[in-house]
Symmetry: D2
Subunit: 116 residues, 4 copies
């Protein structure tokens, strides 16, 4: 599976099948899943915990760290997909809607070039 | 955009374009983005903060809460997609790889039926 | 040291001395410390991640889990104390002030007996 | 109340009394409290979310931001104290014990002067 050819529904199915095959649905309630996203996000943060903003390339250049970071990204995605499936949320639709809302709140012409 | 027909790359592009149009790339470094995922995950958790495990349907039945939950899901997705783009991570490939690793660690036959 | 006879300043000094003895002050900036509190809080959450609200006594009755929980509490306290020292915040005064604010927001007579 | 003259037990009592006066003990179970610490930690992180490591003084110099930061510190402390009370953990003893363990793991002579 690769990002250019994999739909969000493909990923949702991958995760749902994994959970169903182990009868783990009772554990994947929305409270536990929201905590699980936060737990995995914290593990991702750990890789940058003591680095200054000008030292962050160190992680990209360290293959072992990058493999761990990759797995944390997968873990966050897995729990987010499971949460969305459980709560019947269409992630693509929710994201498109939120970006439109953000576009009104933060007009591009107000910010472009401002921080250069 | 809807999950059955939207690829992960479509979502990555939606988010990257939004950031580029505002020249926000300097803020979207991996340290800030990992913290941002954690911040949005915490906001998602807030909706279940004081509910017992047997009270969680209350959120699904509350349209206002569900709209907020939907937006938090979008926010987490946006930062996760931005992080993956920035770190050059293929989310679908990373997730498939992690699920295979998990399948070996947690064999289905060991768990199926165990919690029924 | 024990809670009945240890002041907040005693704890602040314990942590500050530890950091100063290792020249770690440059790492203990407020951004890193706030992330560190969140990281340790997530590790504390992990102990309850998959437990339903009616299963939480399991942790108290498990000496190994309780020792780990104790250490997470210490880690959160350490980073919170370091943050307060760095930002020149008097924790006792801030807490007393916040509880008074909360008392006005959530009057006791409005809630007492309500959930019985 | 001020840090130099306030014991940890004084703070524990302040928080416990507040909760008892509102009959909120059933909500303050260890799962909810660990999530609450994480939620408040995320709110603290928000103040530094988009700042580079060399811009952090901006928060200290902004009285409104500092007041909010102060309240987040109080919120984290309140939930941590409530958690410790509920789980019968002596914070001062746990912290002293953990700092001794850390002192063995990270000997001062190995780090002192290393980052100068």
């Amino acid at each position: 599976m690769h990002d250019p050819s994999t739909t969000v529904s493909d990923l949702k199915k991958l995760v749902s099948d994994f959970i169903a095959q182990r009868d783990w649905q009772p554990f994947h309630d929305p409270k536990n899943l929201s905590a699980s996203i936060a737990i995995e996000a914290a593990e991702l943060m750990e890789h940058f915990q003591w680095l200054r903003s000008d030292q962050l390339d160190a992680v990209r250049e360290d293959p072992k760290a990058m493999q761990e970071v990759r797995e944390e990204v997968a873990d966050i995605a897995a729990y987010l997909l499971s949460f969305a499936t459980r709560m019947n949320i269409d992630i693509a639709a929710a994201l498109e809607e939120k970006m439109q809302k953000n576009a009104e709140k933060y007009p591009a012409e107000k910010y472009r070039g401002k921080f250069k």
